[in-house]
């Protein structure tokens, strides 16, 4: 069993649907991060949910969904500068990877464009 219930938490929504819990986090957070189901927070809690799973940051507090099979979904808040830092780092890493992929695609695209341009100049010269 996860240690979540032993931590000092605030309860914002209880026994609701996962979608409503996600909407609550999106509307009540200063920053929202999306993670895959199975993302680990607070040492041993693997987040359960329907993608996209939203995690919110409000001041020093992390807002997250907690699904209990017999009771539905809860929205809880726990103060954790460490988890917030981890979320921001992971987001920065994702952005860097996306930019790198974009650059690779961009340079390949430019090469193709250059090739096409040379061919068309040649064709013009012949004419």
């Amino acid at each position: 069993m996860s240690c979540i219930e032993q931590l000092k938490y605030r309860l914002y929504l209880e026994r609701t649907s996962f979608k409503e819990a996600r909407d609550f986090i999106e509307k009540n957070s200063e920053e929202v991060y999306y993670v895959d189901p199975g993302y680990r927070i607070f040492k041993d809690y693997y987040i359960i949910g329907v993608p996209p799973v939203a995690l919110g940051v409000r001041g020093e507090e992390v807002l997250f969904t907690y699904v209990k099979p017999c009771h539905g979904t809860f929205v809880m808040g726990i103060d954790s500068p460490e988890e917030i830092a981890r979320l921001r780092e992971s987001e920065a890493r994702k952005i860097k990877e996306t930019l790198k992929e974009g650059q690779k695609k961009g340079s390949a695209g430019e090469r193709a464009e250059t090739k096409r341009a040379i061919i068309s100049f040649g064709d013009l010269y012949k004419k």
Binding site: M1, S2, S17, F18, K19, D36, P37, G38, R40, D44, Y46, I47, I48, G49, V50, P51, V67, K68, P69, C70, H71, G72, T73
Partner: protein, 139 residues
């Protein structure tokens, strides 16, 4: 398996496990405490279900890539059960089946958006409709 408040769940789990074992599969049943206790009471000699484990533990094992499966049947009769099914679909490379039952089975089945073959029947006390649908999937 999640909350065992709908009676057909345990019967269908035992039925499905038995069908899969007979078809040559190595079956593991995962669930929260309550349904696992019911399962062990119903099958004390482990005749139908040889391996039963904790649901949160198996999620941890799959996420940490220490274990995975070829097929996963997620039993659900509520939104919370569906969230667990979606989680398995995201973390495991198994072929996924959503076994949806209970009074709101049809609406719940329609709300499933993750990639899974849906086995849906409005069944609470009578396991017949769900058994017939499972028979079509498990050869």
């Amino acid at each position: 398996m999640g909350c065992p408040e709908v009676p057909v769940q345990i019967s269908i789990v035992i039925y499905l496990a038995h069908r899969l074992e007979r078809a040559g599969w190595d079956v593991t049943v995962a669930g929260t405490n309550a349904p696992i206790r019911l399962l062990r009471a119903a099958d004390p000699e482990k005749y139908y279900v040889k391996k039963s484990v904790d649901l949160d533990w198996i999620i941890q094992e799959i996420v940490e890539k220490r274990m995975d499966f070829d097929a996963c049947f997620a039993f659900m009769h509520s939104d919370a059960g569906m969230a667990y099914g979606a989680t398995f679909s995201a973390i495991s490379r198994a072929k996924h089946y959503a076994v949806v039952f209970g009074r709101n089975a049809e609406a719940l089945g329609e709300s499933i958006e993750y990639p899974a073959e849906k086995i849906v029947a409005v069944a609470t006390h009578n396991p017949g409709p769900l058994m017939r649908k499972i028979d079509k999937v498990v050869i």
